[in-house]
């Protein structure tokens, strides 16, 4: 019995010590971000400068983030959704207004990325990164040049490529191959896309999220549909990879920083947004994650060799037929259903 008491005491004591360490009356900022989408070393820099501690959690898709915030019961001070999701969140009054006067570094953001249609005047969001969706492939394993989504339906490559585990992006690929708009609200077009994805499914190695880089590097997959920044991160380290922007068109996207309603540390959140807009921090992030910066000052620090590459800073004419997602409103339920059925099949 005595031993047990000692054991319990030790446990309680450890807990108390643990708790004491954690409760140094600090402001804790809850940041909710995509996996592998920030250089985590900057957290410590931010903490040293401001004394604000960062509590960090990640998601794999816009939908996962939306659901977690929407259902309530959570408190996040910052999140980084993509344009169509921001549009939806603004419509559903899920975001706090951002006070741009508290973000002096907002001046560094390129005018091209300010005041976009999903958030005119940047009332609710501050640009973070932008990019495209395309195909990355290993030239040692796939010898012919690729320029179209068609390869993802080619029997030759069965079991060698991965698709994204993100509903709008994957449905987008099928819609684009069919020549439709990726923002379609036509049910027949969506059904056609569904059939196409179901037909493709046996050939897909896996529907993946953040692990796609590892799978490419390890040779697990020879080809993958990815966001441009992931391609950039891989290509900058491994020469054998190539990223193509499919001719049928694809997704041009923008990820912005937002403050969800329910945030408790709104001031600290502004501070962190400003921190992220600083040229040097922007550079650390861009260098780490591989995505394309929206910051004119950061751009000056970036390796000029990246300009005019498909994966980092593509030429305008390459992406002129690229579309931007918009929020389909309640029609999203049809997208949900289509995606659930594709995955269940």
């Amino acid at each position: 019995m005595k031993k047990i008491i000692v054991l319990v005491m030790v446990m309680v004591l450890t807990t108390v010590i643990f708790t004491a360490c954690a409760q140094e009356d600090k402001v804790v900022l809850n940041v909710y971000n995509w996996g592998d989408y920030i250089d985590e070393d900057i957290f410590e820099m931010f903490e040293e400068e401001t004394g604000i501690e960062i509590n960090y959690e990640t998601y794999a898709t816009n939908e996962e983030m939306y659901t977690k915030i929407k259902k309530g019961g959570t408190r996040y001070d910052l999140a980084i959704p993509s344009e169509y999701m921001i549009e939806k969140m603004i419509r559903e009054e899920m975001l706090e207004k951002i006070d741009l006067s508290k973000i002096p570094n907002f001046k560094n953001i390129d005018e091209d990325f300010k005041n976009l249609s999903f958030d005119p005047d940047n009332t609710y969001s501050v640009p973070y990164f932008w990019g495209t969706v395309g195909i990355i492939y290993n030239t040692e394993l796939i010898e012919e040049p690729i320029n179209s989504w068609d390869v993802l339906w080619d029997e030759k490559y069965a079991g060698q490529f991965t698709m994204m585990d993100s509903q709008r992006d994957s449905i987008m690929v099928a819609l684009k191959k069919l020549g439709y708009s990726m923002n379609t609200k036509n049910l027949d077009e969506l059904e056609e896309a569904k059939q196409l994805l179901i037909e493709q499914k046996p050939m897909v190695l896996a529907y993946v999220g953040d692990n796609v880089k590892d799978m490419l590097i390890s040779g697990e997959a020879a080809m993958a549909v990815v966001w441009s920044g992931e391609a950039s991160a891989v290509i900058q380290e491994y020469d054998e990879f190539e990223y193509v922007l499919p001719v049928e068109g694809s997704n041009l996207w923008f990820d912005n920083i937002v403050i969800p309603k329910g945030a408790e540390n709104i001031d600290a959140a502004h501070q962190f947004i400003d921190f992220l807009c600083r040229p040097d921090i922007g550079f650390l992030n861009a260098d780490y994650v591989g995505y394309s910066t929206v910051n004119t000052e950061t751009l000056k620090l970036i390796d000029p060799e990246l300009m005019g590459t498909t994966y980092a800073y593509p030429l305008d004419e390459w992406i002129e037929n690229y579309e931007i997602f918009n929020d389909p409103g309640d029609f999203i339920l049809e997208y949900d259903r289509i995606w659930t059925e594709v995955k269940a099949n």
Binding site: M1, K3, I4, V8, M11, V12, T14, T15, F18, T19, A22, N30, V31, Y32, G35, D36, E40, F43, N55, Y56, E57, T58, A60, K68, K71, G72, G73, T74, R75, Y76, G209, D210, N211, K213, D214, M215, S218
Partner: protein, 257 residues
């Protein structure tokens, strides 16, 4: 004779199956390369980067905190509950025990989503508090089930006897009953503790706002691919399990519970 060798071979094969993956993890946690395919020299780097990984360290803290709080609370609640249940009328006892067994029988995922639904409906902030509540909820039934049989083994009417001799109910409970049911309480508490340490599914659905336990941390890292830090973590966890089991085993022999 042949039979004996077949048996040995079979045992060996099964144990190889059980331990090979663990051995692989342990060996490659010392490998000086991100790859799990080639041996490129000995290193302790992964252990260093494991301890420098704030996300993992924080989850470790939450894991221990939740396990300690939830197992102590569950043991307290469960022990008193077993006491009450033991003296209940038969039909009521049956009813309570049936409800008690729901979390044992129900798939974890259903328990998880139903608790999440409740918390969200009650407008509670998903995080440490909700995770602790969830852990108490799934471990209390085990405590009840390990303490209750000890009451049944107790020589009849001990409580009454003590009280007839002038003990207050609380004194009788503390000095007469507790020693009788102690083994059950310990087992129950240990089960609650280990269940809590190990839980993934229910925590996954009932936490949020940046609070995660080790299982959730491992899951979100593993979803991103092979991470040598996880190998290092496995090795440490394997070592602690071994040590814990050795301690328990020794203690069991001494006190013969």
């Amino acid at each position: 004779m042949v039979n004996k060798w077949v048996k040995r071979l079979y045992t060996l094969l099964i144990f190889t199956f059980l331990y090979a993956p663990i051995v692989v993890l342990i060996v490659f946690s010392f490998n000086d390369s991100k790859s799990t395919a080639r041996w490129e020299g000995f290193t302790l780097d992964w252990y260093r980067s494991l301890f420098q990984n704030r996300y993992i360290m924080k989850s470790l803290y939450y894991t221990v905190l939740v396990a300690v709080i939830s197992s102590i609370s569950a043991t307290l609640v469960g022990t008193f509950a077993a006491f009450g249940i033991f003296y209940m009328r038969t039909w009521k006892q049956k009813l309570v025990l049936n409800v008690n067994s729901i979390p044992l029988l129900n798939p974890d995922i259903v328990t998880g989503v139903s608790l999440m639904t409740l918390f969200v409906a009650m407008n509670m902030e998903l995080g440490l508090m909700t995770m602790i509540i969830a852990h108490i909820t799934f471990s209390v039934p085990y405590v009840v089930l390990s303490v209750l049989p000890k009451f049944k083994q107790m020589p009849g009417e001990m409580l009454e006897a003590a009280m007839d001799l002038g003990a207050t109910p609380w004194y009788a409970f503390k000095n007469v009953i507790i020693p009788e049911i102690k083994p059950g309480i310990i087992t129950g508490g240990l089960i609650a503790f280990t269940l809590s340490i190990d839980d993934f599914v229910i925590s996954f659905f009932t936490t949020g706002s940046g609070v995660s336990n080790l299982s959730i941390a491992i899951y979100s890292m593993a979803r991103r691919g092979i991470k040598p830090e996880i190998n290092a973590l496995s090795t440490l966890m394997f070592a602690s399990v071994l040590i814990l089991l050795l301690i328990i085993n020794k203690r069991t022999k001494i006190e013969d519970i």
